[in-house]
Symmetry: C2
Subunit: 438 residues, 2 copies
């Protein structure tokens, strides 16, 4: 049975719903969608290597998580309910100081497992030892855009090292020659990267035609410090450095003002909303979704890392986004369910430059099936409402990425081994940190 997993083959997915229409889907053995429609099962039954009975499930494009730090799943629940600075300096950084490449591998394995289990097929990652992350992603079968977190702390020597590390990662990722994995440049934030560092990142990304992944305007302090130092808020400052491009994913964006949103729209930037993380860390403001979308920026969705969320369930995140937008901006009509669903899939694919995020003939088969034989989809008055407000990722039955089946009827090969490996790595990490001389 395991040989149906993880490889491209022709697949007939029978009896699913797309946009409320009962259809079948045929996946070619090159990983693309061959046909979608009523009666496709009759036309293609003989041709399929594998037949999946959808049993009336909702077929959706796989979700795209546009901001996370996958390996941080090893730190899930290690420290919560703390002030941001204490949390970082007393808990997260001391533990991260003991992280090994094997830890990054196991943390990323665990995160990929969780993403597959909850319907996410692609993610935008920023961390370090990213060659290990790439190994985990290769094995898991999903898509990732991997960036090394570039932090020069305004030091010229350190900047050189970070440029080198960034160049090395790009080279390493390219050498994998894996169409599911891309590299991006990852300048961490304006408060950790010098102007010269930001400019180098912008130029290097343009030259290499790759993405930029950066934290923008997460806290009020970031904005007030930026205005004090540069005489302008983060967005125009980043624009001066060349960072705002259609290849840029700006994570958080909580404190952008209306003019900054207009600038992001003008530059075609993708703005990754991370509502759970922002609420948990009390950022005190929600990303201005309405200004960003009116300005033509690309609003998308991310979970942030598991140390500050603490899971990777994009269905849960989409609900939290829809609720937080309504609550903070005081209007129950903001971010209706269909738009939240777009953010989670289509807009996310656009943010990462992926040819996915839609179910269309010729597009890569990144398909998830969400059960309708489950209380969260009963009754089924409105598909988008149920998906956003009622379901969690646990309603996903089947996950297919690039034509390969990664989960079928909630079964993922090797799940228990990944859980055990990650649990052991996390326990060993904490022990190393505890045993280390203070």
């Amino acid at each position: 049975m395991d040989d149906i997993f993880g490889r491209q083959q022709s697949i007939l997915i029978a009896d699913v719903k797309v946009d409320n229409n009962p259809v079948d889907i045929f996946v070619n053995d090159d990983g693309t969608i061959g046909a979608i429609g009523e009666g496709v099962r009759n036309e293609y039954r003989g041709e399929a290597d594998l037949v999946i009975d959808g049993n009336g499930a909702l077929a959706l494009p796989g979700l795209v998580n546009t901001h996370t730090h996958a390996a941080m799943s090893l730190l899930r629940g290690y420290a919560d309910d703390m002030i941001l600075q204490d949390w970082l300096s007393q808990k997260i950084w001391p533990l991260e100081a003991h992280l090994t490449p094997a830890d990054v591998y196991w943390g990323t394995k665990l995160s990929c497992l969780e993403m597959i289990k909850t319907g996410t097929v692609a993610f935008n990652d920023m961390y370090f030892m990213m060659e290990e992350a790439a190994k985990a992603v290769t094995e898991a079968g999903i898509r990732a855009t991997l960036s090394y977190g570039f932090i020069d702390l305004f030091d010229a020597g350190k900047r050189e090292a970070e440029c080198k590390a960034t160049e090395n990662l790009i080279r390493s990722i390219r050498s994998l020659n894996n169409p599911r994995i891309s590299a991006a440049v990852g300048p961490h934030a304006i408060y950790t990267v010098s102007p010269d560092g930001l400019k180098w990142c912008a130029e290097f990304a343009a030259q290499e035609k790759i993405g930029i992944h950066i934290h923008v305007s997460e806290t009020e302090k970031e904005v007030t410090d930026c205005v004090a130092q540069h005489g302008k808020p983060p967005a125009p400052y980043l624009d001066d450095c060349g960072i705002l491009t259609p290849r840029t994913v700006a994570a958080h964006c909580c404190w952008l003002d209306e003019a900054e949103c207009t600038l992001l729209g003008k530059r075609g930037v993708s703005a990754s909303h991370n509502p759970s993380s922002n609420m948990k860390l009390a950022t005190n403001r929600a990303m201005p979704y309405h200004w960003l979308s009116a300005a033509g920026a690309n609003p998308c969705l991310g979970t942030d890392g598991c140390a500050s969320n603490n899971n990777l369930d994009m269905f849960e995140e989409a609900k939290t986004a829809a609720l937080l937008q309504k609550f903070f901006w005081n209007d129950p009509t903001i971010l209706p369910a269909p738009d939240a669903l777009l953010m989670a899939a289509t807009n996310g694919a656009k943010a990462l430059g992926l040819p996915t995020g839609k179910l269309a003939v010729g597009a890569p088969a990144d398909i998830i099936l969400v059960s309708t034989k489950i209380s969260c989809n009963t009754p089924l008055h409105n598909t988008a409402s149920n998906l956003i407000y009622s379901c969690s990722g646990s309603a996903v039955e089947t996950t297919i990425c690039n034509g390969a089946v990664l989960m079928l009827e909630r079964e993922i090969p090797g799940e228990m081994e990944i859980l055990a490996g990650a649990a052991k790595a996390a326990a060993d990490l904490v022990k190393r940190a505890q045993d280390a001389p203070a």
Copy 2:
């Protein structure tokens, strides 16, 4: 296999964790907890009618949902993303006008199923045709406190009818003689019930020694109208009517000021926080958890009905509560995970006057088992953090109420029939409403 479900029998639950200690639990055949501890399996193995292998799961008291309208699950997703008044007048009320007793039965069946599936063993319900709700609860095997939504719209004639309906429900519930089901008085809110109606409810509840279930201070308009009409905000006005008692569950409580919180504390009122509903409907303020708990009120948790949430997952709701409190009150240390867990179980049981909400020898066996062989509990640095921030109700494997197994390894007998019955009732309801003359 089905004969292990839904009846009291002696049960040995082996290999679970309680407060981070590995233990076994023995449940007596009268539905109470007989023993908890290491080695209990050796002592009781021969005596148990049923042995459940916990496989390292976390054993918790079953959760208690302190504010919902269970039958509204039939309206799940029927209308969302609208202004409150339009939502009620254009969508919800016109559909509710066509509800039949059978609809209330099927809606409550569906909700009970969803609660069992997500670890909730007791709920506080307010709706109408509650005899049908009682029938559904009896069959499901969980606990409920049922109240008829008393709405006199300031009309004396209607008040008489509502008093009669309330008295009838109490009589009907008592005649069931089901220890899992209680009745409460359900004055809907200060803007739908006259002062005389509120006073009657308070006196009747005191005389019958039963609970009071009421919506309090959900919107700012409720407060400003109350001040304009009565010269005081809702809490002291309700206190004048005798409504604030230790048997009272006040739902929402978003707009209470600090003095009102002190009054609720003094009167021993339970305040049911409903964060998802409040965010979705843009109430613009979060229940002041910190003032209420400092004042000695009993903060507990509710999902509200599925027309405004849109599910009954108390794990999800507890996370949303912990996030919203931090975000709105701008302090990441407010409502830490252990306190959110208390709200969801122990405080909820106290709110409904149930002898449950804890795992203790002699207490009724209301026990849920949450898997640890799952990504949301991997790694397991901190149990409370994982349960609140990482897990959803889908991590619950086994649900036991009053010593009866209601779900085992996520199996619930008759699940598909309940889903089908509820789906049909919902579709028929919408059709009746559409076919009705305008």
